[in-house]
Symmetry: C2
Subunit: 357 residues, 2 copies
């Protein structure tokens, strides 16, 4: 038995893997693999229609106000597409920098217009989320990353944003909890954490924003075109979208994002309790900002790091090595990780303490 | 038994489907699904390394001269990325328009610099490939589409290109035959015909061109960055790349592109012979330019069209309806379609003739 704590691509529900494998062999008794079905045919059209409806249903957003797109290019492409599509003389971009991903979004957006970084926790090595900044801007968007996978920080409520539309990179915590508010202009998420396998990116865009997209954009980078063509302007990534749909169905059938939030809280608390209790480890992120998706922690005696990783591996606990910017360990505990996995990790931590203290 | 003649996403070898399904369940006895493996881990790194090596091996291109990238966004993104990365004051873009796909490439390229269309077969409704044009250009590229899936035309040799680098959209006939020459600057191909499932795009780029990429591009659209990061600047589409690798291994194990070419020729000739022999049907494309991948044909008595499609469906022959720009029928007979499928289609055509003449 393996317990996969990888940051992404990441664990998905077992049922999703088995349904996905079945579809690769024979999709829904068509006698054909999902991989060879036309993206214009009735089977994939039905998949796509459900896949663009479910995110709104799960997040409690209205179809009158929002539209879902399944694009490619990862969240990395949304770093620039948001700016390229929206920035103009009257609609400005404001950013909060909580590390790596927002830093990249800021870098790419600068190529497409003037933007302003309102706050950054860089000086703190991104252990916390900056909360104090002037946000009384009148027109534009505020871009933020709701959960930082590398440093293990997460917004527990909406950032101060005044009259600005929120653009949120929700790659690593989408569908892990109900939305903490309703002022989103765009929510985007690379699939490969809570949503599906690598290869597609969900973009939820407020319909009113679709009316102010910059003109003259190349077709594949123009939200308007993808929206008008229901994500089928060109051949969409059929399999990643299908697996994303299976995952969303699983979330829906297991109590929706409310139930996910409850379970994720229990899981995160079990790990954080052990990190605090255990004499060998230190939590990395500031307590009030720590993530329910990625628990980051270090080991007091650096020379025990490799041994702990070995003990984890021997217990079937994989993907636990921390990102090089933080070091130590990271337990990514997305929706599909169940409490048994958490218990196993806690067991290994306890046993390691007994052995080394 | 189903015979899938879809234009794309399209048929892949049966072995590829079963290995892909197995990998979704448990990749290579890791106890984990391929979909949950880290793209930085040893398993996917090995997949990617082989996946970027095999295209060169299959096509007889040297690793000293060329590099392969696996990107996203389909061939549609290459329509503009080629121009965006390469066009400058001294390096110009020239195009041959053989319908739909080249027309789109021309449209998107115009946004990034001055380009010139050297020839078009539009007046002919793209039944043929234009061969007469002035090609004595000194610096730049000549962009062409080697096979047009919609009209069923295909280049049988390199277009006249003087001193220009060739940029070839080879989406629908890559690996179907040996390269007819060696003056390629870029070859690109959306996976979903001869290479794999939808969701990744192979870009083979001449290393010398990587030295003249325009500066100031956003990271995700910059060939230099993807090349420097071996297609892992961001999370690559793991599953589509893996299935593409399985398909390339299958090609290699079945005699390479030389054997594919031989088989494809036999298959295409069997269909074209029947189209010519059968009194009910007409071939669409000009004989000397007809495609070995997509055979397009129409029916003399328009009112029999639906009945023929019904007879096909009853015999398990699917995906045979022609594109709306041409009407009639299209048999897409990519590498993975075997001669049994062709025989079945020919059998249905013969039986239909007996019934209706």
């Amino acid at each position: 038995m393996k317990y996969n704590f990888s940051a992404g691509p990441a664990i998905l529900p077992k049922e999703v893997f088995s349904e996905a494998a079945q579809a690769v062999t024979d999709y829904d008794n068509t006698g054909l693999s999902l991989l060879e079905l036309s993206h214009r045919g009735p089977e994939f059209t039905a998949i796509l229609d459900e896949a663009v409806r479910l995110p709104l249903e799960l997040l409690g957003l209205s179809e009158d106000d929002y539209q879902c797109l399944f694009l490619t290019g990862g969240a990395s492409s949304q770093f620039f597409m948001t700016a390229m599509n929206l920035l103009n003389e009257n609609y400005h971009g404001y950013y909060i920098d909580t590390g790596t991903w927002s830093t990249k979004a800021i870098k790419e957006a600068k190529l497409f217009g003037k933007i302003e970084v309102l706050a950054s926790s860089k000086e703190d090595n991104y252990k916390s989320i900056p909360k104090k900044y002037a946000s009384s801007k009148s027109s534009g968007y505020l871009h933020y990353t709701s959960n930082n996978t590398i440093f293990g920080t997460q917004y527990q409520s909406l950032p101060d944003h005044g009259a600005l539309d929120l653009i949120c990179d929700m790659s690593s915590d989408i569908f892990s909890r109900p939305l903490p508010g309703k002022n989103y202009g765009i929510i985007y998420a690379g699939a490969q954490k809570n949503l599906g396998p690598a290869g597609t990116t969900l973009v939820i865009i407020k319909k009113s924003l679709l009316k102010q997209i910059n003109s003259g954009l190349t077709s594949m980078l123009d939200y308007k075109i993808h929206a008008a063509k229901n994500s089928s302007f060109n051949t969409p990534p059929v399999f990643p979208i299908y697996v994303s749909l299976l995952t969303m169905r699983w979330i829906k059938n297991n109590g929706g994002v409310e139930a996910m939030a409850k379970r994720n809280q229990q899981k995160a608390e079990a790990i954080y309790q052990e990190i605090e209790r255990n004499n060998l480890f230190d939590g990395f992120a500031a307590k009030e900002d720590r993530s329910y998706m990625n628990a980051t922690f270090t080991i007091k005696q650096k020379d025990l790091e490799e041994q702990f990783l070995e003990d984890c591996a021997n217990a079937g606990v994989v993907g636990i090595k921390g990102h090089r910017s933080v070091g130590g360990f990271r337990a990514s505990i997305y929706n599909a990780m169940d409490i048994q996995g958490i218990n196993k990790l806690v067991e290994v931590m306890k046993a390691f303490e007994s052995k080394h203290s």
